[in-house]
């Protein structure tokens, strides 16, 4: 199938009849994913969004349930969002991040109904990357500019049109009623050529990294690695795989709601005990936690690194603390295991 670029807005409007459509939208000098009210609002002329689209499934702030409590009992009303959604034009790295997050919200003992219900009702239509950025390193993590992990369909930009590859039943269901023109040989050849031409220049050596992290928790290397870090959490805020959250009540007396908000392991109060004791008291422990969680603990638990190489943490760090350099330093060190 193909979508002609000049027909894209009309196509999105037709999708809007059956789905909430989320697409990249220009805002100030950056791009974000938003629910569009018209196909005209979307732009696929973008590198990647400033904030990852994970927030569509796991909102930055979300009401879990409302309650009102009286002398005889409590009325609790849960807010599960089961509306059909499409995330249109997301990059393959961000689609892969959702596959990683599935592990978190559906663990060996518990299921998170908020995330999982949205996930089940959301169709992911990716847009391959013709021109990956300098900060991209997806191929080092098993991804790629046209990787299809997690996607229900993939668009390939061939100049004046997008060639659509349908990848799943959800994708099939979405495109079935839309009667798009079929792709011919010329279009298929053009798509293959675009895929061939796209390259990710940056390679990060991750071979043996996990084995180093397995033993270097007490290594003095951590004393230096974090020193530049301000603890601002821009990295976790823009990371597509970070998922830490806080739960708070928003209420007047005993009527209100329970809300969850994104949180970050880079903040000191994240782990602060009521007693005043803090298991991760300084920037060193918190920085180590972030690296360890992504490149060791997540591997231990889910057999995959919790990084997709999107490069957002590199672009947005106010002090240019580049995770690629951090990993290279760890790789270059002699990991020591003594306490």
């Amino acid at each position: 199938m193909i979508i002609n670029k000049n027909e894209l807005a009309g196509f999105l409007d037709r999708l809007r009849a059956g789905y909430q459509v989320y697409a990249p939208v220009k805002e100030k000098d950056y791009t974000v994913f938003k629910e569009i009210g018209s196909g005209e609002e979307a732009t696929l002329d973008y590198c990647n969004s400033k904030i990852p689209p994970k927030g569509i499934l796991f909102p930055q702030t979300e009401k879990l349930f409302s309650y009102s409590c009286g002398p005889d009992g409590a009325r609790v009303e849960e807010h599960i969002d089961d509306r059909k959604k499409v995330i249109f034009g997301l990059r393959p790295c961000d689609a892969k991040s959702l596959v990683l997050l599935d592990n978190v919200f559906n663990n060996d003992k518990y299921q998170d109904p908020y995330y999982l219900t949205r996930r089940e009702n959301t169709t992911l239509i990716g847009l391959g990357c013709n021109h990956p950025a300098q900060t991209c390193f997806c191929t080092s993590l098993g991804g790629g500019p046209f990787d299809t992990a997690g996607l229900d369909a993939l668009l390939v930009d061939t100049g004046d049109k997008y060639v659509v590859e349908v990848l799943s039943d959800k994708g099939k269901a979405l495109f079935s009623g839309l009667a798009l023109p079929a792709a011919g040989d010329a279009e298929r050849t053009a798509a293959a050529a675009v895929k061939e031409a796209a390259t990710v220049d940056c390679l990060v050596n991750l071979n043996g990294l996990k084995e180093k992290l397995d033993v270097n928790f007490y290594d003095p290397i951590w004393d230096g690695l974090h020193e530049k870090c301000l603890g601002c959490a821009a990295c976790t805020y823009t990371c597509p795989t970070c998922h830490c959250f806080d739960i708070v009540d928003d209420a007047v007396d005993a009527d209100g709601c329970r809300v969850r908000n994104w949180d970050a392991c880079m903040f000191p109060i994240f782990t602060l005990h009521g007693s005043g004791h803090n298991p991760r008291p300084t920037g060193k422990e918190r920085f180590r936690q972030r690296v360890m969680h992504k490149f060791k603990y997540f591997v231990d638990n889910f057999n995959a690194m919790a990084c997709v190489g999107c490069g957002r943490c590199i672009k947005n760090c106010p002090v240019n603390l580049d995770i690629r350099n951090v990993l290279a330093e760890i790789q270059g060190s002699e990991a020591r295991s003594d306490k």
Binding site: K109, P113, D249, R258, R260, P279, Q289, M292, H293
Partner: protein, 279 residues
């Protein structure tokens, strides 16, 4: 899909000031229906999120034993927003409970074994649950000799004083209570828990040790347990870390690749030796 975030409403039937500094209260909560009670099957060592509607929720070890039907008990120190609201709460108020959460003491492994339970201060809550569970006539025969060593700074800071007095009279439990310094009216033992453990010298033969208390007590009792011959696999500990979700997702209570909420809070010392010291 069961929603693990929803609290079960329960009635606060007793708000009891447990210690003479008034900082620990024990709350007795009653289930509102038999169906609710049937949905809450727990084992000693587990915890639950107690929620004050309008304030928030916080995790606490369950101090009652499943052998005591109809209610749950929690002993809570007044520290933050939720615990303070609980302390001020009138009897009869509805609160929320989410759980049971976490693993539990390895009761099955304990069967046929002698048990040495060591507690300090207000960390005695889930140890009280375990002791009450073992002392239940239906269960007592499943376990060997039971030794409980419990220390507090002063007599007034011991939890569950009436119950301790009853245990004192029984011959199927060796209870040793101790306080830090001599105090008027106290005829029991005086001394820190590590030293008392050394004096009492419970045998490690065919025995498990379960220890909960302040870090400094744990630190100095460990060498005593080692000297008595308890291997790390038979020393059971329970961790507390700051928690929110209680179901292994929100990411704050982890110690290495384990979540205290989902994979703990109960760990053997051998397991903790494999984990970083972030607790």
């Amino acid at each position: 899909m069961r929603n693990p975030y929803l609290p079960l409403p329960m009635k606060l039937v007793k708000n009891f000031t447990e210690t003479d500094d008034k900082l620990i209260h024990t709350f007795t909560l009653e289930f509102l229906s038999e169906a609710d009670e049937a949905s809450f099957k727990y084992t000693p060592g587990q915890f639950a999120e107690l929620c004050v509607f309008g304030k928030g929720e916080a995790p606490f070890g369950i101090a009652s034993s499943p052998t005591e039907p109809g209610h749950l008990k929690f002993s809570v120190a007044k520290v933050g927003v939720v615990s303070t609201a609980l302390h001020l709460m009138e009897e009869g108020t509805i609160v929320g409970v989410r759980g049971p959460l976490g693993n539990s003491f390895p009761i099955e492994d304990f069967k046929g074994k002698n048990l040495v339970i060591i507690g300090g201060g207000f960390a005695f809550t889930t140890l009280r649950a375990l002791t009450a569970y073992i002392l239940n006539p239906a269960n007592r025969g499943d376990f060997g000799k039971l030794t409980v060593i419990y220390g507090a700074r002063t007599p007034g800071l011991l939890l569950y004083k009436e119950e301790l007095a009853e245990w004192e009279k029984r011959d199927d439990i060796e209870l040793v209570c101790t306080i830090d310094r001599p105090a008027e009216g106290w005829n029991g033992r005086v001394g820190f828990v590590p030293a008392v453990t050394k004096e009492v010298a419970p045998s490690a033969d065919n025995a498990y040790a379960v220890i909960c208390g302040p870090p400094v007590m744990i630190k100095f009792t460990m060498p005593e347990l080692e000297a008595l011959g308890f291997p790390p696999e038979r020393i059971i500990m329970s961790l507390e870390n700051r928690m929110k979700c209680g179901i292994g997702m929100c990411g704050r209570c982890n110690v290495g690749n384990k979540y205290v909420c989902k994979d703990g809070p109960v760990f053997t010392r051998a397991e903790l030796n494999q984990l970083p010291n972030e607790y």
